[in-house]
């Protein structure tokens, strides 16, 4: 029993590390993509739209295939160990994929900020970057907190795909546990679902709190 708990704990840690790195990465990536999408430079707008449309419409498994087996062909490797390399590659895939959804969510938030505010900000001499970072994005983020929570929870569950590409996380822990304890397969599946549920509920709770403190209702 103890070894099972040990297995699941290390699996949960694996899932949380993937989640943590991807969370930071996709918030940054999503913000950049959204900013490009509303920028005054047509090339940036087009690039962002094209990227979002291509990556968002590709299954995550394929995105990960390209990252894990494609990048090494270009001699792109990270870290000295295979485990480190796979961890980074899986995170790149997750960030590349989730950023699209963050960007689209954020874009819907940007649309809720009245144009007058941006014009007023321009009129007092703020640059585009300043308008975006001081006036528009703070309000946009606060408006889209509820849907952003859903995107982040979906990302948590998407980390499970990394188990097929040399990352040890909850699904690997579950597979390993089933291999040694064939007599309790269904309980093990339920336990795995429970851990995901618990993690997702915590994320949901955090977003609820943020929402209560920050959200702007118009």
């Amino acid at each position: 029993m103890n070894t099972l708990i040990q297995t699941f704990l290390s699996g949960t840690w694996g899932t949380l590390s993937l989640f943590g790195v991807t969370l930071i990465g996709c918030l940054i990536g999503g913000t950049l993509l959204a900013a490009m999408r509303v920028s005054p430079i047509p090339v940036l707008r087009g690039a962002s739209a094209a990227y979002v449309n291509v990556v968002r419409n590709t299954p995550l498994t394929l995105v990960m295939f390209f990252c894990v087996f494609g990048l090494p062909y270009l001699d792109i490797r990270f870290g000295s160990t295979a485990a480190m390399n796979s961890f980074v590659l899986a995170n790149i895939a997750l960030i590349a994929y989730t950023s699209c959804f963050v960007a689209e969510t954020l874009r819907s938030g940007i649309a809720t900020v009245p144009v007058g505010q941006a014009e007023a900000a321009r009129a007092i001499g703020l640059s585009f970057t300043q308008v975006l970072s001081f006036i528009v994005l703070p309000q946009a983020f606060r408006t889209v907190l509820p849907p952003l929570g859903s995107v982040i929870i979906a990302m948590l569950k998407n980390t499970s795909i990394a188990s097929a590409f040399n990352n040890r996380e909850l699904i690997s822990a579950m597979r390993g546990a089933i291999e040694v304890r064939g007599d309790i397969v269904i309980p093990l599946l339920l336990a795995t679902a429970l851990v995901y549920l618990a993690l997702a509920l915590v994320i949901g709770r955090v977003f609820d709190l943020l929402e209560r403190k920050l959200v702007i209702l118009r």
Binding site: A164, R175, E179, G182, V185
Partner: protein, 298 residues
Amino acid sequence: MKKLSTIVAGAAVGLLALTACGQEGTPEVGGEGEGQAEAPEYTVAEDVDLSDSETWEAANSAGTLKVGVKMDQPGLGNTEPGSDTPAGFDIEIAKITAAALGFAPDQIEWVETVSANREPFLQQGNVDLVVATYTINDERKKVVDFAGPYYVAGQDLLVAADSDIAGPDDLAGSTVCSVDGSTPAQNITDEYPDAELVTYDTYSKCVTDLQSGSVDAVTTDDAILRGYAAQYEGEFKVAGEPFTEEPYGIGMPKDDQALRDAVNDALEASMEDGTWTEAFEYTLGDASEVEQPTVDRY
């Protein structure tokens, strides 16, 4: 219209490239190749009466025997792309068993089982027998019964033909690939922590990595590795020092003594009259140095 066909062709090429990725390294198994032995045929027993066995009664009145097999283990139970029937040593064993129980090969319904659903499938009656690289162990005996073993596999290493790795003790400092969560992968973590473990969801990804040199060895049961070594002759070899024992058994619903005795009898008979050897040579190759296991009627 021309534009459309260009797009379709482009997409098809892309898809081909992808499937090539996924299927690369799956050895040919089965009787399609030239020069291979004819598929062995087994005499189907007539007038079998196992009315003491609930499982057999149900299967007999339905006219089909549902057998759970793996479809992604080359040499043992594997379905080639484009084929709808599996092939391999497990499949032959299943046919031998079915024949002894009075079912012809076309009366067998193949059900794909993976490691996670073998016990639930048996408990819920989705399958009557499981012949799926199913290692007999005490935890599993709590919920299902085993006949056999019909083969004792052992964990081994597949390495490049010019590799210095001859056994698990040479693994320190090298990377070794296996399937995520599998027993071989757990053995490496527990027994050989100096080796760096890489895990994927299929062995073919491991073989791709072995080809490109990203990993130094692939490890799993020797029977599966033999299939790959045969396909990549001259490129890969099996180290040949099995370091675990994995007795493969035929899983069946618990407490069906009549069925278990019948299957054990069938396995013993096949080992005595040479059909076991025939099945082995047809699927896994030379059986002259392979020891037949003794059936364990626990």
